[in-house]
């Protein structure tokens, strides 16, 4: 800064930067900017201070980033995330069970070398996990809280208590179809005979 800005000029510049000046005063201030370097520097200073205060205030605000959509949308998002997580767990459990069935003491199949199986499972798991991200929620929104715990209990209860006692919870048909139709031939063989020697 060339020289100290007067307090009055600093205040006028702040009001102008805020948009709180009456139109005629703002026009006069703008005209002064054409010729008065002190007024120009005062305006720049007001903007820089405003930016610094905004950043400082945001840093101390416990809820710094406002979440759009309201509590209802967040609740639905968390429910969807819970279901996606359960499906993911189901998928992981299935993969683990398959790898256990295959890796028997006779060591007939080295699952690590069977890249088609690994890729298949990885792609399915990634697509399951990716559906969570499509909701557009941030990591903080997906964080588990007390209300989520209550919600999860009600959802699980709703899923378990079913008129059709043959199902524990509803798995989408597309998921089942994907699992059944996309198995590589050797996986189908392994499912029928885990002890098969290749």
């Amino acid at each position: 800064m060339s020289k100290p800005i007067s307090e009055e000029l600093s205040w006028q510049a702040f009001l102008y930067a805020c948009g709180e000046m009456p139109p005629e005063d703002a026009e006069a201030f703008e005209e002064s900017l054409a010729v008065d370097q002190a007024a120009r520097e005062a305006l720049a200073h007001a903007v820089l201070v405003g930016q610094a205060v905004t950043t400082a205030a945001a840093a101390t605000d416990p809820i710094a980033v406002p979440v759009t959509g309201g509590p209802q949308r967040r609740s639905l998002a968390r429910s969807a995330a819970l279901v996606a997580g359960l499906l993911l767990a189901f998928g992981v459990g299935w993969v683990v069970s398959q790898s256990w069935n295959v890796a028997q003491p006779d060591g007939s199949v080295d699952i690590a070398d069977d890249s088609s199986v690994t890729d298949f499972d990885a792609n399915q798991l990634i697509s399951l996990w990716g559906n969570v991200g499509l909701l557009g929620e941030t990591e903080s929104d997906l964080a588990w809280g007390d209300e989520d715990e209550q919600e999860s209990q009600s959802i699980l209860a709703a899923g378990l208590v079913d008129d059709d006692s043959t199902t524990e919870f509803n798995v989408p048909a597309w998921m089942l179809a994907a699992v059944e139709n996309n198995l590589p031939p050797e996986m189908e063989d392994d499912m029928r005979n885990p002890n098969r020697i290749p």
Partner: protein, 186 residues
């Protein structure tokens, strides 16, 4: 037709041509020294980070072209004057009226910074945050409501059930303290 060489005349020296323009390295130095302040000034005038960037670029393009005509001791004032003219030209072209710029200038910056600029800025922000925390509660509240929550002074006066003059006074006193911290060199 004889060439200048055949006529015994010297060809224009490339160095002489270069003397008609300011050294780009000098312009770069000016940008480092005044760029942030100029950008803030332009944001104050235009209330739009992109337009401010456009005007800033035009300003330093002019500096390269005709900056050599400015006196060294007044180069900062010259840059600000050119920036003002560029901003006014943009406002005329974009037909930006007063009503459209009645929003907070600093919320329209939308700029990205280099990491080294962030370090300096965060030191400043840290000082300002300390100053903000040490403000009297009534002043702190007005500052947050005006600058951070972007409520007008009239709305603040209504919500706090205070006269408008009281709100303005608290803001002005707070601003004095905040500016003092902002201006301190680390």
């Amino acid at each position: 037709m004889t060439t200048p060489e055949e006529a015994g005349q010297d060809l224009p020296d490339k160095g002489q041509i270069a003397q008609d323009r300011i050294d780009p390295a000098v312009v770069a130095t000016l940008y480092i020294e005044y760029g942030e302040e100029l950008k803030a000034f332009l944001i104050g005038l235009l209330r739009n980070g992109d337009l401010a960037g456009e005007a800033l670029q035009a300003t330093f393009t002019k500096a390269v072209e005709v900056g050599h005509t400015a006196r060294q001791e007044t180069i900062k004032g010259w840059l600000f004057r050119v920036a003002y003219n560029e901003a006014m030209a943009i406002r005329r072209r974009q037909k930006i009226h007063w009503k459209s710029i009645q929003k907070l200038a600093w919320s329209q910056s939308g700029s990205t910074e280099a990491p080294e600029e962030n370090v300096t800025r965060w030191e400043t922000v840290s000082r300002v945050r300390t100053a903000l925390d040490t403000l009297p509660a009534n002043q702190q509240r007005v500052v947050r409501m005006r600058i951070y929550e972007e409520k007008t002074f009239a709305v603040i006066a209504e919500e706090l059930d205070l006269p408008l003059g009281t709100v303005l006074t608290r803001m002005r006193l707070a601003l004095q303290k905040l500016e003092k911290q902002f201006d301190q060199k680390s």
